[in-house]
Amino acid sequence: MTSFLKVIQLHKNEATLIQRAIKHNREAQQLLYAQYAPKMLSVCRYYISDLQYAEDVMLRGFFKVFAHLKSFKGEGSFEGWIRKIMVRESINYLRKQKLVEFAIEDVEIKTEISDDTLEVGIEVEQLQQLIDELPEGYKMVFIMYAIEGYKHQEIATLLKISVSTSKSQLFKARKLLQERIKHLNKTSYGTN
């Protein structure tokens, strides 16, 4: 009960902060930034290997957040709304850098999916490094699908690719990532 009341209080505080931030209250904007920036920098970092560039992208995202705060209708969580903006900013950044290339050929997607679980011992930074090493196309589709929870149709629209390309990129990304994790585990812990 106490935790439920805390959530209500937090939501009320957040709504008040948003209203003040809409009116260009700098203090409210700073509080919202302080609350969400660490999470959003991490989101941008999923896509962008360089932390400095990821931060620049995050700042551009927050700039848009505050500039268009009036358009936030309160439908869904505020964090989810900010997060979508960050994902789009990251995709735009990669597009501008011409780092994204999608293989045109569609591979045969096997219905058999390796459902290996992640080995317990792997660190977040190691995992991030493995994701960074994926081809940009694989990486984007994998993060959007596996971590952000987008559907293939949404990914296809956002990345301007076909649904089948999105599916094949995801399949390849998973396969490659699993192989590399296995390889990492072999070299680090001597398992398998």
Partner: protein, 243 residues
């Protein structure tokens, strides 16, 4: 194909991570926000100035248009006024205005409401008539008109009596004799009218001019109507007597 356990594990690991932004990241964002807000304020100010200028321009244009626009005036005027426009345009003095009023009263007792476009001078004259002609003056003019009408009636009676007398004496009355009687009566009426208008003083020139005028048709008609009715009365009396 949904999220696999592998996907969920990776998501779980990555979601726990929080990355601290650099120390000056907020200052950088704050400066950018200040800049855009200042720019928006300037843009809004410019837009307001442009809007105010447009509104002012529209107001000036509307004011000028409404000022220059000629509004058609609806006035109650006699039917003949339109034909007398040229005459009205030249009238400026108060005496002339009195004459106009008299002419209007004499010529057309019927007034009709109709839309006419008067020239600018006519507007002034109409206003002048409204403001300067006093009701007392109009009353005097109307009294004179009534007197004139009563004189005409009296003369009609006189002429009919004279014709009846001639009938008794000569048994036959020629057209020339009737014409003579009518002319005499007409002259007499004109003379009395002139006397009334010039407060008892008759001008010789005016008298001469009036004598030269033709016999008024309305007066002629009145006389013939009177003779007809008297003839009808006599006829009825004769018929009743014979019965």
């Amino acid at each position: 194909m949904g999220q696999t356990e592998f996907d969920k594990d990776i998501k779980g690991k990555l979601e726990q991570r929080l990355l601290k932004p650099s120390e000056h990241s907020w200052d950088k964002l704050s400066n950018d926000l200040k800049a855009i807000e200042a720019k928006n304020k300037k843009t809004n100010l410019k837009r307001m100035l442009v809007a105010a200028a447009v509104i002012a321009a529209l107001f000036v244009v509307y004011f000028n248009v409404s000022k220059n626009k000629e509004v058609p005036i609806i006035v109650n005027v006699p039917t003949d006024v339109e034909s007398n426009n040229e005459h009205i345009q030249g009238i400026t003095k108060q005496e002339d205005i009195k004459v106009v009023v008299e002419t209007i009263i004499e010529q057309t007792p019927k007034s009709t409401s109709q839309k006419i476009t008067l020239p600018k001078n006519a507007d002034k004259v109409v206003n002048k008539i409204d403001s300067e002609v006093k009701p007392e003056a109009i009353k005097v003019e109307l009294n004179q008109l009534e007197k004139t009408v009563s004189i005409e009636d009296q003369k009609v009676k006189e002429v009919v009596a004279q014709i009846n007398e001639l009938k008794k004496l000569n048994k036959e009355v020629t057209d020339e004799e009737i014409e003579m009687l009518l002319l005499e009566a007409q002259r007499s009426i004109h003379a009395q009218k002139i006397m009334q208008q010039s407060s008892g003083m008759a001008s010789a020139d005016v008298l001469l001019m009036e004598v030269e005028t033709e016999l008024d048709q309305s007066f002629r008609n009145k006389v013939f109507e009177a003779i007809k009715s008297s003839f009808g009365t006599v006829k009825t009396a004769v018929v009743q007597r014979n019965n």
